[in-house]
């Protein structure tokens, strides 16, 4: 009985965490996202097995570029004007500027992950210095993509150890830096590594809370 109650509580907690967090401004319809710049995704993919985990850097690079393009393509379906440049196509000169924006986001994301509810209250912001990011000058919204994936070395072992990918899409006001929405998607199979297109339905589902704002 105790175990059932604990599992139920855990399920409830996971459900709440899995919900997208949307800023009241967006929810009330006071803010629309018409021109979106999707920043290159930053992902961490590791391969794990009986003898621990190891990195998959070349695969990670490709996955990041594919995921960036996929999120851009998915958002385009919602009629917003989208610009999504995979990191491989960003010039070396612009990468440093991009790295600064990404670093700023990472420091704020750490706090969002600690208390997601603050997004609804408009508690988090990257600061208006994001308006100085040249590549975003014509955009009204920035999208940051983060994902962590685990792949089993051996698929039979993987059946026990849950290969999965969990990612986040964060919508940020390109003028003020305010976090507009923090959406999460989870894929609990390893198919995403074969083709990133396997994630389409998961990403679309995560976008439901902001559909009306696109």
């Amino acid at each position: 009985m105790k175990l059932q109650v604990a599992l139920l509580a855990l399920w409830g907690a996971v459900s709440v965490l899995g919900d997208g967090q949307v800023n009241a401004k967006l929810k009330n319809g006071n803010r629309q996202m018409k021109s979106i710049l999707v920043l290159p995704a930053e992902t961490t993919i590791t391969m794990f097995g009986f003898k621990g985990s190891q990195g998959l850097w070349p695969e990670n690079d490709k996955f990041e570029d594919d995921l960036t393009a996929l999120v851009g393509k998915t958002l385009t379906l919602h009629r917003a004007k989208i610009s999504a440049t995979p990191l491989a196509e960003v010039s070396a000169a612009n990468r440093q500027e991009l790295a600064e924006v990404q670093r700023k986001f990472d420091s704020v994301q750490a706090q969002i992950l600690r208390s997601r509810g603050g997004v609804r209250k408009g508690r988090y912001s990257l600061g208006d210095s994001v308006a100085g990011y040249a590549a975003a000058s014509s955009a009204d919204t920035l999208v940051f993509i983060r994902a962590k994936g685990r792949l089993p070395v051996n698929l039979k072992v993987g059946a026990f150890l849950m290969p999965e990918l969990d990612g986040q899409l964060t919508f940020v006001d390109a003028r003020t830096g305010e976090i507009l929405a923090f959406l999460e998607f989870i894929c609990d199979s390893h198919n995403w590594m074969k083709s990133v297109d396997q994630l389409v339905s998961h990403i679309q589902e995560s976008l439901i809370p902001v559909w009306t704002s696109l």
Partner: protein
């Protein structure tokens, strides 16, 4: 070993180091498959850093690092080792080496060090890790431990077959933790952030002392550099090896028998080489809420260039963001409780919330007013010294806006835009001006 003291101990450890170095001179075919895979991963890591623009390139600094490291290197590099010394754009104080001979130093560490002998002590420590083959030993140990752990976990999962896959994972917190490993996988993440283990670190320190003495450097500067790491101006919730006080204390204890920093080492040549990295790190310190560290670095630059308008501007900006804090932490803030509270506040409050809470206290208000005065004076002096420099006007605009001196803020912002019509932050300043003209709109 316990009966040895002082330089005898150094010589003893240097002999061990030499013996271990010799043991590492292996042929390519004697490397195991996982070791070769690890070497491949090291190459990929540099590509990864480069892709994300995390490598800091500065010809003068690169040459200086190579020059400081060369006298510390063994005559023959171990197999698969090609010595390289690279700088990472990272405000955290950290250094690490990869088994292929690549040594990384963060800009945060370079900002902390005072002179070439301290730089050499960090390099010597990392060189000793590479020569000792600590990464390979760490990897072997890790794989052994993980095998045991995985078998135990799998047994637990199998014994509870009534539970679904998702629930099974909850029984294995260690495996769930794998989801947050860094990109290189757990072993690389562990040694980069936590070091190689007490024994390996101790041996590397002792070997570093021998290398420093051989290169004519002051071995006492190794302990001095650890002291600097042990007393940071700002706390962060990220615990790296160089920020872990327990480990630093342990390393310092291991160095207690050594003479203290024996002579004042001139830091001018070091500062000249590292200045660009220190300047760049100030922005990163501010972004990562290390405001006191930013002020300390900006002061250092301004001291070296007392009539440089840009240096004055950077110092003024550092004081502005310091806001309701003092430039040095109080005794209370330096206490273990104070440091714990700072870490907790960092994680639970946004920068704006923290500023607001601090500014609501009398000491916070006093500190903010004092910092505002310094900021204004520094910006004005910078504008006076170099009338062509637009940044001080931008800074004054931000400062006056914070102080609710709206008309003065407008004047300064407009002057900035006139002086710098193609500024990358033009849109940001125009937004701020619009917000001043129409209070209540987004700012």
């Amino acid at each position: 070993m316990k009966n040895l003291s002082g330089w005898n101990r150094v010589v003893f450890c240097a002999l061990i180091f030499a013996a271990r170095s010799h043991a590492q001179t292996r042929t390519g075919s004697s490397f195991t498959k996982p070791e070769l895979a690890l070497l491949t991963q090291c190459e990929a890591l540099e590509h990864r850093f480069d892709r994300r623009a995390l490598l800091f390139h500065d010809t003068m600094l690169d040459q200086h690092l190579a020059g400081a490291a060369t006298p510390l290197l063994p005559d023959l590099p171990p197999t698969h080792v090609h010595w390289r010394f690279l700088v990472l754009r990272d405000p955290l104080v950290n250094s690490f080496s990869l088994p292929d001979g690549t040594v990384y130093l963060s800009t945060g560490l370079l900002s902390l060090l005072e002179n070439d002998d301290q730089l050499a002590s960090v390099l010597a420590h990392e060189i000793a890790h590479v020569t000792n083959g600590d990464a390979f030993a760490f990897q072997r140990e890790y794989r052994k431990k993980e095998t045991v752990r995985s078998v135990t976990t799998l047994a637990a999962v199998a014994s509870s077959s009534v539970l679904g896959g998702g629930i099974a994972a909850l029984l294995a917190p260690d495996l769930l933790a794998e989801a947050i490993v860094a990109e290189g996988g757990r072993p690389i993440q562990l040694w980069i952030t936590s070091g190689y283990g007490d024994e390996a670190e101790h041996i590397a320190d002792q070997a570093a002392l021998g290398l420093l003495a051989r290169a004519g450097r002051d071995p006492g500067q190794l302990a001095r550099s650890l002291d600097l790491m042990n007393d940071p101006l700002d706390e962060l919730p990220v615990l790296t090896f160089a920020a872990d006080r327990a480990k630093l204390r342990q390393r310092l204890t291991g160095l207690q028998t050594q003479p203290a920093a024996s002579r004042a080492v001139d830091g001018k040549s070091y500062f000249a080489a590292a200045e660009n990295a220190i300047r760049e790190n100030i922005t990163m310190d501010i972004d990562s809420r290390r405001f006191r560290t930013a002020v300390a670095s900006a002061r250092r630059i301004q001291t070296a260039h007392p009539v440089d308008a840009r240096a004055l501007y950077v110092l003024g900006e550092a004081y502005r963001v310091l806001g309701p804090r003092t430039a040095e932490p109080s005794a209370e803030e330096r206490s273990p409780e104070g440091r714990r509270a700072a870490v907790k506040n960092f994680a639970s409050r946004t920068a704006e919330e923290e500023d607001k809470i601090l500014a609501a206290t009398p000491p916070g208000r006093a500190a903010r007013d004092s910092n505002w005065k310094k900021t204004e004076a520094l910006f004005q002096e910078a504008a006076h010294l170099d009338p062509q420099l637009a940044d001080p006007h931008r800074g004054l605009g931000v400062l006056y806006s914070e102080q609710n001196r709206i008309d003065e803020a407008r004047v300064q912002y407009r002057e900035y835009l006139e002086m710098s019509p193609t500024a990358p932050d033009r849109l940001q300043i125009e937004n701020r001006l619009a917000a001043l003209d129409h209070p209540g709109t987004a700012h």
